[in-house]
Amino acid sequence: MSVFSKERYGFLARSEILGLLALAALIVVVVPLSLDIFRLNLVGKYLTYAFVAIGLVLCWGFGGILSLGQGIFFGLGGYCMAMFLKLEASSVENTKIQSTPGIPDFMDWNQLTSLPWFWQPFKSLPLTLIAVVAVPAVFAFVIGTAMFKRRVGGVYFAIITQAVAAILTILIIGQQGFTGGINGITDLRTLLGWDIRTDHAKYVLYFVNAALLMGVLVLGYFVRASKLGRILVAMRDKEDRVRFSGYSVASFKTFVFCLAAALAAVGGAMFTLQVGFMSPSFVGIVPSIEMVIYTAVGGRLSLIGAVYGTLLVNAAKTALSESFPQLWLLGLGGLFIAVVLAFPNGLAGIWGAWIAPWFARLTKSGSHGSAVANGSPAE
């Protein structure tokens, strides 16, 4: 039996299980063994973007809904986490030199004398963890319901999500007394007394992040293999037909948009934990659209491709901007164009069209190298 056969175990095809195992081996074993803690932390940061990219595969690749505002949800998740950590770092002891001790330093600088009401819930870790997922999901639900019920789609949806990202960025920067402004929320120290700045903590957080990512991938495969996954593809193809088969298209779109938002938010929260701050530069238009390119490079139809795409683009960004900063924008711009013009299915498409068949010939197995990696949505 070929490695690339479509034999299924539960909702996973055999090849998908192998793909997941290979990825797990890479990010849990190979990468931690071969990189120092600084570089590993960097990879951990990249992997938090992969949550967004996986959400975009579900939402854009399968559902055909291009959101150019995923930074909103990444940021909201990250800010929720950062607010908790900031409050913990702003104990009365730590802030006794302030005119109002016990509130975050930037509030004190902006003449606030008490903690705003919407910061109150973030004194509690359980409430924070709920908020990390719930705040972005509810926000996405409001946007999604309003737009999808009125059949706003395609480029209109993309532009409106972009506008919302712009609004949120302006708001965060403008309201610095409540949000930390352009610098964001910085100087985060401990999680329930556990110092997140140590190398050990960074190791632990990296593995937590990796495990969450694998979990999210499995969830993504589950959604894709369910009938809901096929309805998403059907909707992308012929929205009216789905409607006239008795489905509420708006509900399905809202669901997948909320799911993508929640995934992005988990990534954002892990970002805050690993990097130690959150700022509006991860919320706005530019980061949001960059997150789309991760998905496009990985292959917009491939969940696992999204992870590789994210890693590859970010590795290239780091390498190029360290040595030739002026080349990075050219490279990124070229990547956008090349992916769209020449490789609409990204890395996964290249894998499915050339590498997988080559492997299949190599192992002299089944007649056709089924292109599973390009996630032909029909499967």
Binding site: R151, Y156, I159, L171, G174, I293, L329, L332, I337
Partner: protein, 308 residues
Amino acid sequence: MFEGYSLGDLASIFVMQGFAGLILFSVFVLMALGLAIIFGQMGVINMAHGEFMILGAYVTWMCSQIFQNYIPALFPIYFFVAMALAFVASGALGMLVEWALIRHLYKRPLDTLLATWGLSLILQQVYRSVFGPREVGVDLPSWMMGSLQLTDTIEVQINGLFVMSLTVVITVVVAFLMFRSGWGRQVRAVVQNRVMAGAVGIDTEKVDRLTFGIGCGIAGVAGSAFTMIGSTGPTAGQLYIVDTFLVVVFGGAQSLLGTILSAFTISQAQSTMEFFLSGSIAKVLTLLGVVGILMLRPQGLFVLKIRR
């Protein structure tokens, strides 16, 4: 928010802010006109539109430098030469881009969005390499400087008046092109039914290329106007692109009049609120208002009811 102002003050404030809003309105209209042609007529999302505008601004800046240094006698009229050159430069680049990129993507509107975003990044970097990262400003000829004192409390700047008259002229020309010229008829024919238009002998490829070129060329002229009210930098165009798209979408993508009215509404709302509230909150409220209205009326404000 009105406490502490007398009625007379308020009236002056509204007039002055209204006038400031009119300049913003002019740039919006000029940018949005080009975008409305490209998006409304061709269905292409050109995220690099701001960079086409900035190309026009750089061309204008170069002209001002050349005239100042080599032919100072003609400096007072350099601006008209610059505008023409800006149109040609942006238009030519637009046609090149259409040929190399856009024409392959007509059936994938979301992909044009990504590809032109990539193009905008490349153009920004090119500007940065060629013109440097610093912002540049043009010197105005003396006749454009100064302001007109209308009453004790109200004065308007001459360059602002000039930009506005320019906008009116260009809008009239575009309207004429779209609704009276043979090209406009061909564009509308292609929009309505590409296959039929091709079948009756319209060279649809040429029409597409010309349309995209003209849209970009108008952006170039907008860039010329832009130099008079802002300084030109590699990323200045990106700041306007989302606003401009909102203007176009808000007005109803296929309606020229809608584009103008929506540019007017948005710029006036923003500029009036800016005086009483902080700039960022004014902007947030304006954008929120637009997004809110778009959610209620996704087809835009000025679209006829048609059978799908």
